[in-house]
């Protein structure tokens, strides 16, 4: 039987193959290793049959068939390399080459160009078209039609073969409409839409999927021949999605990053932060030598002197007051080895638990085993999103925080028919494809979620009998009506959301930074835990409290926190000769203790708390009060300027190591280039320091690797929480004067404190700005670019306005990635919501 239900058997080049109904001939051939040349086909895009290159001969078919758009039928007999097929493809190539300039010697695509390869394979030596080729020329003086359509993309229409892959991916996968095909016939051209630039977060992918050199990026153009580079396996160093990258390096310099497709994570798409962010490694102003402050100035010293200076001061403090008087802050974008050695150094050498990777979040919970920690340890998988018929995105500017997880949600909704509800304090890109985009008043999420819990009890008798009484005693507000009033979300929409949860067969709940970075996240996590518990989601889906940085999850599992789960502590006690008994301090308390002179020294590993900790003045006071500040980083920053010792740190491209992504997936990356100057990896710095003070942290790379693997491989998954938790909303109303809610977040093309060092990402955006609604802009007579003064009770900054339809009336959104304008001076670490006022600059 060749037609067996959903399976179809056919013959391709004399070989039998059985495939699912709906499979194309092209896919069937590929599945048995038969390569059919293509230009317009892409495994993640719908077939359009635009290029005709994938011709095959199918017996009983009148003409050649395009295999990418022909579905397999029972008993089909396909020939992929018959004389007729080869002739057909040759004719297609002759037409494609009709106006192609054949400027391979000066084309960056040379060496990895599909058109070059297929022409080579089909042996085209001459064309019958002997008239002049049609030439697109934007600039009559230039031989090349090089035309910038976005901050990083150059288009050369003469090379374009109109496969439409860029335009299709842009619409189909990214949901962007800034690129199109205009005109027709031989005049047809790929271009930015009228009045727009191709500047979405995914724009670099369009260059990567171009089969020819029609789209190139300024990053890579005319710099190196691709066959002269070596390809190095890498993992993105920014957000915690953990996209797989290939770095292309030559002579100790990286030339570009491309996707190394991993269908479990990225499906071959990466965001521009990941694509261009590698440039931090090549930046001119990297720190290359250890510096020690002598008098007012930093002086270059040898590693030996720097390490001895630190060891001497640390020993002095430890002997006099104890190791508890030294605190550590570490960047969660560091490799696992560096993070682990920070923990091991502080605990075994200094005998203190006061280390934390959460240096840019407000007020942290300070005990292990709280609801928030349990929730962050629930099992979560990116592919699991596709299995859910309901996706709930809570308190997350998803495209901004996790661009590639956003694409997976987008895929589930637009291709697989899942329903999406977004619940955020402002409109987001995910909202565009949602069934309902719920917008609550900033700071009222737990009230809203409590409302959803009560709506669930009203809609299901089973939930009512089981949980209603318990909920009423433990949560506030405890009615849909009150929740609606506090959050500003209509009752009906709360009920609709509850109904959607009850109706769903499988649910994915994604919780983002608006919660995880908030001062009251424990409370909000409890509210969400209740919602999951009573609706039975643990049994029918997953919840992801998404970790932020490339290795936040690794930092958590490797113990870069003051309070660790019991199991981890037990394991560490077995592993190490010392584990400090005294409880440690979290990031906020470390800084507070510094200000109160209870801590004398802080070691900052790879981060910039002065720019990113939400209360700039507080951090400054704390760091100024310290006796001794050590900062290791890749670049000079305001924090390094205050340091007594500055250590040059190697970036992830300059070592091999591992990151742990939002799913807890451990991924390794290889060394692409050497660190600049004398810069060293974090683990090497910690080890030298430990050796100087007492004994090395590890004797061999093998030992270090084994200890890390053992810790990461422990079962870190927490069981679902089975009790109703207390979750009471506490109102924090704005005052009369400062009444616009402030959101401080990463700019779309930037991440943390490093990306502003890259030329390409700075081409998208190079300075902070203030994003407000058209209504608010009108109130201050502001247009795009007008300077407004933003003031809170504790600080002020002046920023240019950008008007956005996405922002709710009473929210001001500000971007924190730019050292020139530290916006954390506006934030107060104890406030759950910061409020600001605006004024025009010339008015005062």
């Amino acid at each position: 039987m060749s037609d067996n239900g959903n399976k179809i058997t056919l013959t391709i080049d004399g070989r039998q193959v059985t495939v699912d109904r709906g499979t194309t001939v092209l896919e069937a051939a590929r599945s048995i290793g038969i390569d059919i040349p293509t230009f317009c086909w892409h495994p993640k895009l719908k077939s359009v049959g635009a290029c005709r290159m994938c011709y095959v001969e199918i017996e009983k078919f009148r003409t050649l068939a395009v295999s990418c758009a022909t579905e397999c039928l029972p008993d089909m007999v396909v020939h992929t390399r018959s004389e007729k097929v080869l002739q057909g493809r040759k004719a297609v190539l002759e037409f494609i080459l009709l106006n192609h300039p054949l400027d391979c010697p000066t084309c960056d695509k040379g060496g990895e160009c599909d058109l070059q390869d297929h022409t080579f394979a089909h042996g085209i030596d001459d064309s019958r078209f002997d008239f002049p080729k049609y030439r697109f020329k934007r600039d009559p003086k230039s031989t090349f039609d090089d035309y910038r359509i976005g901050p990083e993309i150059i288009r050369n229409q003469n090379r374009c073969i109109l496969c439409y892959k860029c335009v299709r991916a842009n619409k189909e996968i990214f949901g962007e409409h800034d690129l199109g095909v205009f005109q027709r016939g031989n005049l047809a051209e790929i271009d930015a839409a009228p009045g727009e630039k191709v500047d979405s977060l995914y724009s670099g992918n369009l260059v990567e999927i171009c089969p020819v050199g029609a789209l190139t990026n300024t990053d890579f153009r005319y710099k190196v021949r691709v066959w002269k580079t070596k390809q190095v396996k890498s993992i993105c160093q920014y957000c915690a999605d953990g996209c797989n990258l290939t770095l292309w390096a030559r002579r100790n310099r990286i030339f570009r990053a491309t996707s190394r497709r991993n269908d479990d994570i990225d499906e071959g798409w990466i965001c521009d932060r990941g694509r261009y962010g590698y440039q931090v490694a090549n930046a001119e102003d990297r720190l290359t030598t250890p510096l020690v402050k002598k008098g007012e100035h930093h002086v270059e010293v040898t590693w030996d002197e720097a390490i001895k200076t630190i060891a001497a001061r640390f020993r002095e403090i430890k002997d006099k007051k104890g190791g508890v008087c030294i605190g550590g802050l570490a960047y969660p974008g560091l490799d696992s080895a560096s993070l682990y050695t920070v923990s091991k150094f502080f605990r075994t050498i200094l005998n203190t638990n006061s280390i934390d990777f959460r240096y840019d979040y407000k007020m942290l919970p300070e005990k292990a085993g709280d609801v928030y920690s349990e929730m962050t340890a629930q099992p979560f998988s990116i592919t699991g999103i596709e299995k859910s018929d309901l996706i709930l995105v809570l308190a997350s500017h998803l495209i901004n925080e996790h661009p590639i997880t956003h694409l997976r949600v987008r895929k589930a909704v637009t291709k697989l028919g899942s329903k999406l509800y977004t619940v955020n304090p402002f409109a987001t890109k995910s909202g565009d494809i949602s069934t309902d985009e719920i917008i609550y008043r900033l700071g009222t999420l737990e009230a809203l979620i409590n409302g959803v819990c009560m709506a669930l009890t009203e809609q299901s008798n089973e939930i009512k009998t089981k949980y209603a009484d318990k909920l009423k005693s433990l949560i506030a507000p405890s009615s849909v009506e009150a929740a609606s009033k506090i959050s500003g979300v209509e009752k009906e929409r709360i009920h609709n959301l509850a109904r959607a949860i009850l109706d769903a067969k499988n649910v994915t709940v994604i919780v983002g930074e608006i919660l995880t970075g908030s001062a009251t996240r424990e409370n909000m996590a409890s509210a969400i835990s209740n919602m999951l518990l009573i609706s039975g989601i643990p049994a029918k889906g997953q919840v992801g409290f998404l970790s932020k940085y490339a290795n936040s999850m690794g930092a958590q599992r490797l113990g870069v926190m003051p309070h660790l789960p019991d199991a981890t502590v037990e394991r560490l006690k077995e592993l190490w000769d010392n584990y400090p008994e005294q409880p440690g301090l979290a990031a906020d308390r470390i800084l507070l203790a510094g200000r109160k002179e209870e801590i004398d020294s802080i070691f900052v590993m790879g981060c910039d708390p002065l720019l990113l900790y939400p209360d700039g003045e507080f951090v400054r006071e704390s760091l100024e009060t310290l006796d001794f500040l050590v900062v290791a980083d890749m670049f000079e920053s305001k924090t390094t300027a205050m340091a007594d010792v500055v250590l040059p740190l190697a970036g992830p491209a300059e070592m091999s190591g591992s990151f742990v992504n939002i799913e807890g997936r451990i991924q390794t990356f290889d060394k692409a280039i050497n660190p600049p100057g004398q810069a060293l990896p974090g683990y090497e710095i910690m080890n030298r320091l430990a050796a100087e003070m007492k004994n090395p942290l590890y004797e061999s790379d093998r030992q270090l690797h084994d200890e890390i693997t053992m810790l990461l491989d422990m079962n870190h998954k927490a069981p679902a929480i089975m009790d109703v938790q207390e979750a009471k909303y506490i109102a924090e109303e704005p005052g009369d004067e400062y009444n616009i809610a402030l959101v401080v977040t990463d700019e779309l093309h930037h991440f943390g404190h490093l990306t502003e060092k890259t030329k390409s990402l700075s081409a998208f955006c190079a300075e902070s700005f203030l994003e407000i609604s058209p209504a608010l802009a009108e109130k201050y007579h502001a247009q795009n670019g007008t300077l407004l003064r933003v003031e809170s009770e504790v600080g002020k900054v002046i920023l240019p306005v950008r008007i956005s339809e996405h922002i709710d009336n009473n929210v001001a959104m500000i971007y924190k990635n730019f050292a020139a304008t530290p916006v954390n001076v506006l934030q107060m670490r104890k406030r759950r919501v910061d409020y600001v006022r605006l004024s025009r600059v010339e008015e005062k």
Partner: protein, 166 residues
């Protein structure tokens, strides 16, 4: 807005006939063209607002269809078919004749803004080649004499202020 209230109402009325908003692009462009006699980027943006489809998609459709002029034309837009049947039966000569008679080149408009001359792809009237389209009307089996008569007639109408709408 460049689009008149009447045009916007007409576009809205046409929109409801289609299950998908994108399907209303061509009807909307036609309404705009009928009002203005040409299309441009500002109009794409306005239509985008009316039918809630990205500007880029509207521009893609509009630029694909050469029958929508993308710049203001003369009172009468003369579209001469230059595809194979017409070409075999003398379209080239016809274009040359029109050029010399009107004193303009292909793609240009007469100084008095009465005629614009362009060549177009097949208009589906091969059996009556050579042919041209002016306004909504086909002029077929063309000869130089016929062209003379047509141009005289239209010029007279324009000068008398009785021009048909395009």
């Amino acid at each position: 807005m460049i689009l008149s209230d009447k045009s916007i109402a007409e576009i809205r009325e046409k929109m409801v006939r289609y299950p998908r908003r994108k399907s209303a692009i061509l009807p909307a462009l036609t309404v705009a063209y009928n009002q203005l006699g040409h299309l441009d980027e500002e109009i794409y943006k306005e239509i985008s607002q009316v039918i809630d489809v990205p500007t880029g998609e509207i521009a893609e459709a509009a630029t694909f269809y050469t029958m929508f002029p993308k710049a203001p034309t003369g009172r009468y837009l003369i579209q001469v078919c230059h595809n194979i049947s017409c070409a075999l039966l003398g379209a080239d000569g016809l274009v040359e004749y029109l050029e010399s008679k009107l004193g303009i080149k292909k793609g240009e408009t007469t100084p008095d803004k009465i005629f614009t001359l362009i060549t177009v792809e097949c208009l589906g009237s091969c059996a009556s080649a050579p042919m041209m389209q002016i306004g909504d009307r086909y002029y077929e089996f063309l000869t130089k004499e016929k062209v003379d008569a047509i141009l005289d007639d239209l010029r007279k109408k324009a000068e008398d202020g009785k021009a048909d709408s395009v």
